[in-house]
């Protein structure tokens, strides 16, 4: 290993020298290329504090390449003169020589040569003097060179012997105990570690898991919401949402062309729904319009999971004896809306429903506080709102510390008797419910501004890889 040899020689030089050595001097005295010495310095530096090296630059004059050529072979004009035989030389021939062009004009002005343009066979050059004195040869061009070198001195742990540092502990070292004598190369703690080879869960789904957890902690059972296709009957009519309601427009709802219509309904219940819409009853004036089964039959992509709540409450009413329930669901809903940075045609709705005897508006407020407290939201206030199937209806606002203002975080209400009584639920049973979207809290939590960066195929997988776990309380 030649380099190791150089390094050791270098160490010995440093040991002898007082105050240090210059790498250039070492190179010239050892007859080595300077770069070899620099390499040795670098490898010694890598071994720790064996030496300390300080970079310095020195400047000196040196013959340029052209100067070297002139010093050896004479000036260009002298070489032109020398190359012309006594019987002259065709100009074209001269120009072929490397020094021809430069040397020709100088030799002409020195009047060493002459050009006969009228010579037959083309212009020809002849010598005009016997011999010349080449002054140029003695004063050739030098140029300034900058040389970088190292000033090398002993380091804190200087030694003339080189011990190779180990990079890693090996099974052999552990077995034979050699690790005790070895020196180990220090780790670079500034560098990042290697990313573990693993899969990742999607941030929105991580948040969904937490919301499920919260509902389960609160004793809510999960509703089966695996039915994206719903009839208008369950999505709207059963919720006492009139058939002319704007939400039932093609502008807001996706209708199906195949299968276009639902065919099966609980007939008795359907009749009661029809009646409460068109004539009233159950203590209601009704909407007093011509309710049409054709409108109720239209299949749609459900616009809210409340359609499933309606099915579940209807089933509850079909029990022999009413039992109180707490239900929740988190699943996709669909709106044929104009899309923008925060709106997609589909999103996840979170919904909670409690049905029991004698629930009050105060109970709804209380349960909303419990729910949102689990999300880390404790400052709430409630605004009266309108919703066709809840009365009272309340929008839930929370105080956003970052934005320094109240922001809407959800909707809530008590289901209308016109919805519950036709189902067959006892008159003194109240059903309170609330809902919010899953995407919005997730976007706030993970600092995402465009919903397309969160949901759908345009998601950036790096974002998925890098997203932290979801702890809602923080």
């Amino acid at each position: 290993m030649a380099d190791a040899g150089v390094a050791e020689t270098l160490l010995r030089r440093i040991e002898k020298a007082d105050g240090g050595v210059d790498s250039l001097d070492v190179a010239s005295s050892l007859g080595l290329d300077h770069q070899v010495v620099v390499g040795a310095v670098k490898s010694l530096q890598a071994l720790g504090d064996l030496i300390s090296a300080e970079q310095r630059s020195s400047k000196h004059w040196e013959l340029s390449e052209e100067g070297t050529e002139i010093a050896e072979q004479g000036s260009h004009e002298a070489r032109v003169f020398g190359s012309i035989p006594l019987d002259g030389l065709a100009q074209s021939e001269l120009m072929k020589l490397s020094f021809g062009k430069i040397g020709f004009s100088k030799a002409m002005s020195n009047k060493w040569i002459r050009l006969d343009k009228t010579h037959e066979g083309g212009p020809r050059i002849f010598r005009t003097v016997e011999s010349i004195q080449d002054q140029e040869k003695n004063c050739v061009a030098e140029m300034l060179l900058t040389v970088k070198s190292y000033w090398i001195t002993k380091g804190p742990s200087f030694s003339t012997t080189i011990t190779k540092q180990e990079t890693e502990l090996t099974p052999d070292m552990i077995a034979n105990g050699s690790w005790k004598e070895k020196k180990f190369k220090p780790y670079n703690f500034e560098a990042m570690g290697v990313a573990p080879d693993c899969g990742h869960l999607h941030p929105l789904m991580k948040v969904r898991t937490q919301f499920r957890q919260i509902f389960l902690e609160m004793g809510f059972s999960e509703m089966p919401t695996n039915n994206f296709i719903e009839s208008s009957f369950w999505n709207f009519d059963s919720l006492f949402q009139p058939q002319q309601h704007p939400a039932r427009d093609a502008h807001d709802t996706f209708f199906l062309s195949d299968p276009a219509l639902a065919h099966e309904f609980p007939q008795d219940y359907l009749e009661r729904v029809k009646k409460v819409h068109s004539e009233g009853g159950f203590g209601s004036q009704g909407y007093k319009y011509d309710w049409k089964i054709e409108e109720a039959q239209k299949n749609i992509l459900r616009t809210h999971t409340t359609a499933v709540s309606a099915r579940m409450l209807y089933k509850l009413a079909q029990q022999e004896k009413f039992t109180p329930v707490k239900y929740f669901s988190i699943d996709r809903v669909f709106r044929n809306e104009t899309l923008d940075a925060t709106h997609l045609a589909e999103f996840h709705q979170i919904e909670g429903v409690v049905a029991d005897y004698g629930l009050t508006l105060g109970d709804l407020i209380g349960i909303l506080y419990q729910f949102f407290t689990k999300l880390g939201i404790t400052k709430l206030r409630f605004k009266p709102a309108y919703n066709p199937y809840t009365e009272p209806s309340m929008e839930v606002f929370s105080y956003h510390e970052g934005l320094q203002k109240w922001v809407e975080v959800g909707n809530s209400g008590v289901f209308r008797p016109e919805m519950l009584l036709p189902m067959g639920l006892p008159e003194d049973v109240s059903v309170i419910a609330w809902g919010l979207s899953l995407e919005r809290p997730t976007m706030i939590k993970y600092g995402i501004n465009n919903i397309r960066e969160l949901v759908g195929h345009k998601v950036n997988l790096q974002m998925v890889y890098d997203s932290p776990m979801c702890r809602l309380e923080s």
Binding site: E222, I229, K326, F334, T360, V459, V464
Partner: protein
Amino acid sequence: MPTVGVKRDLLFKALGKTYTDEEFDELCFEFGLELDEITSEREIISREQGDSKASGASDVILYKIDVPANRYDLLCLEGLVRGLQVFKNKLEAPRYRRVSPVSGEPQKLFITKETAAVRPHAVAAVLRNITFTQERYDSFIELQDKLHQNICRKRSLVAIGTHDLDTISGPFTYTAKPPGDISFKPLNQTKEYTATQLMSLYKTDSHLKHYLHIIEDEPVYPIIYDSNGIVLSMPPIINGDHSKITLKTKNVFVECTATDLTKAKIVLDMMVTMFSEYCSQPFTVEEAEVVYPDGKTCKYPELAYRKEKLSSEFINRKVGINESTEKIAELLTKMCLRSQATGVGDEIEVEIPPTRSDVIHACDIMEDAAMAYGFNNVPQTTPRTYTVANQFPLNKLTELLRQDLAAAGFTEALNFALCSEEDVADKLGKKISETRAVHISNPKTAEFQVARTTLLPGLLKTIASNRKMPLPLKLFEISDVVLKDETKDVGARNSRRFCAVYYNKSPGFEVIHGLLDRTMELLEVKSARGDGYHIQAAEDSTFFPGRCAEIFARGKSVGRLGVLHPDVINRFELTMPCSALEMDIEPFLGHTAETPLTHDVPMQEVIKHKFPTQGESSQAPSSRPTSTKTAFGDVSTAAGLKSLNDFLADKSYIEGFAASQADMAIFDAIPSAPCSTFCHLMRWYNHMKSFQRERASLPSAKSQFVLQATANDAGDDDDIDLFGSDDEAESAEADRIKEQRLAEYAAKKSKKPALVAKSSILLDVKPWDDETNMAELEQRVRSVSMDGLLWGQSKLVPVGYGIKKLQIGCVVEDEKVGTDLLEEAITAFEDYVQSVDVAAFNKI
């Protein structure tokens, strides 16, 4: 939610108080309004049309206030101010009165029968001696527009026309005429047009073009004339220019034409209650008489006050407060619902004014009390509802599986449930007709043509958007797809799928296959035929030929895996090989201890509730025969249902090609709706259920399919004797039919080419010692014979010291011959054989 723009200073002047923006926002919030934006005309114009256009515009501050969609009485400054003043106890809610004209007859509007075909209803009223200012006039026009956009459903349900009564003379006629026969000078035009011309004129009008469709294709258009033949309006499109109101107008004739009479009355009430404030007799409205084609007359506006009685206990109980009857009456009065305690117990009489058409139930009154009390003043309470939480089993499985799939190194993607037809069909090398996809009728873009039938396209698109990410890409998704399913009430159902893809420089089938093995391990399904899972080669145009396998679990196909076809890879704009796996996870649900919930609702109500004024129940449920014994076996047992299910696999009805009493008899014999595992039976059962109303009229059965329950009837000797012979003959006949059908079924089943799984095995048989006769050894080995075992070639392979072992091949049918069995049989030749090893085992 409609937004009303009002000038701030005008609002404060009317309210008699100046608020800061925050104070007013707070007031709105309490009252259920939202101060959406504080702006000015200049700001709006400069935002919408650029700064240059805004230079001359007004700088007056505008409040944009969001109003709940059912509060039509708050859609203008007048209504807002009235509502807020009453709420703040600064004003008593005015009483609106309908009055007769001071002199002469009321204005009359005759409706002709022609209108029935297009827009049958009309109502009218007169605002007498009104004083307009520019602001009032603007608000008057604005309210019409707000009502048109909201309750009038963009004029389709109701259209409002307002006219200067002094320019026209009654009686008025509301009729309908062919568009060519209608000609008049419409509002703000300089010449007369026919209705046909108007329709083409307004095609390009940014405002009016939205209403043309309401009557465009009708043979006749609605039109209102005065006694001199002057056109008042052609609803719901445009008024006539002749009768237009100006700032100088003193007397206003308001007409509303409609397809929905209830809403027309509400709209008319709103118009006149809001603006009668500016009449010389404030809040009085002069009546108008509407004469129907049959001569019946009605006076409008209705301005009906309705009285409701309820108890303060009801309100306290529903809201969760404890206030005195008087206090609650006060609260309601603040909400324009004039109320007082009647003195009878805790009864309150509430008067609902014509402006509050949103109050249709006692719960609406309760809400107003809660609003006046202040939602934020209601004490928080915790419901005592005791429940035990259950997870939806399918979601529970999904959650658990997701965690472990991420732990297996795959990253979760989340894609849209809606996509283009191309995504689920063409791009995967399939036809859309084969996909069972549900189709959307009104997609705004191609991205929403269908609900996805597979998760694969979403994952491939996710990869396409992430091509710059380091390879390999390993993605998965567990989510629902939607498939048409006629057994469901809506004709479609969700199916929970698990899909995974591996995208790298090499296809990595083994990675995807390994993921399948891991998934099955997680689901506790062993690798085995029959009760476990296995994969076998399959044809699928999505996959590269010969590189696709079908996944079978417990004998059922649950999905596919393989290397994607290069065409598929190209169509998704990918460049690398890719292997994929997609399977149903619902078959792995197993039996959970939790109550299985479903969104399927009972179609027949078993529990009869007492409903008020419920009509006679349509039909008494037919009495069910006590017997569940049928020609297909006892249908109260799974075996009986299975045989019925098999029978119905290729038949729509029990007998022939139409529903008959035979179907009904079997239907009645089945004790409860069959479970969905019997899909053919389920389909038939649901179909039969739809015949329940007309069951009596179905043709009679040719054979008897339901048998007498012999055990139960043992005591009734007489009956048996009486019909004994018939019964015997029929049951024999039924038995014969049953056997014949079962035989047919068995024959049909046997005709199906059974795919037998085979393996090729290479055995090393080592001799007992160096003196063993190898020829005899081979003979003995070959003497082993079993069903499904075929011996192949053999050779002797030296093992050392001159000893040779016998290497012999064979082909076995997996289900019949196992390697254990073979080894056991061969080692039985103890004199010859020392040991037997399986040198190679390959599935064929």
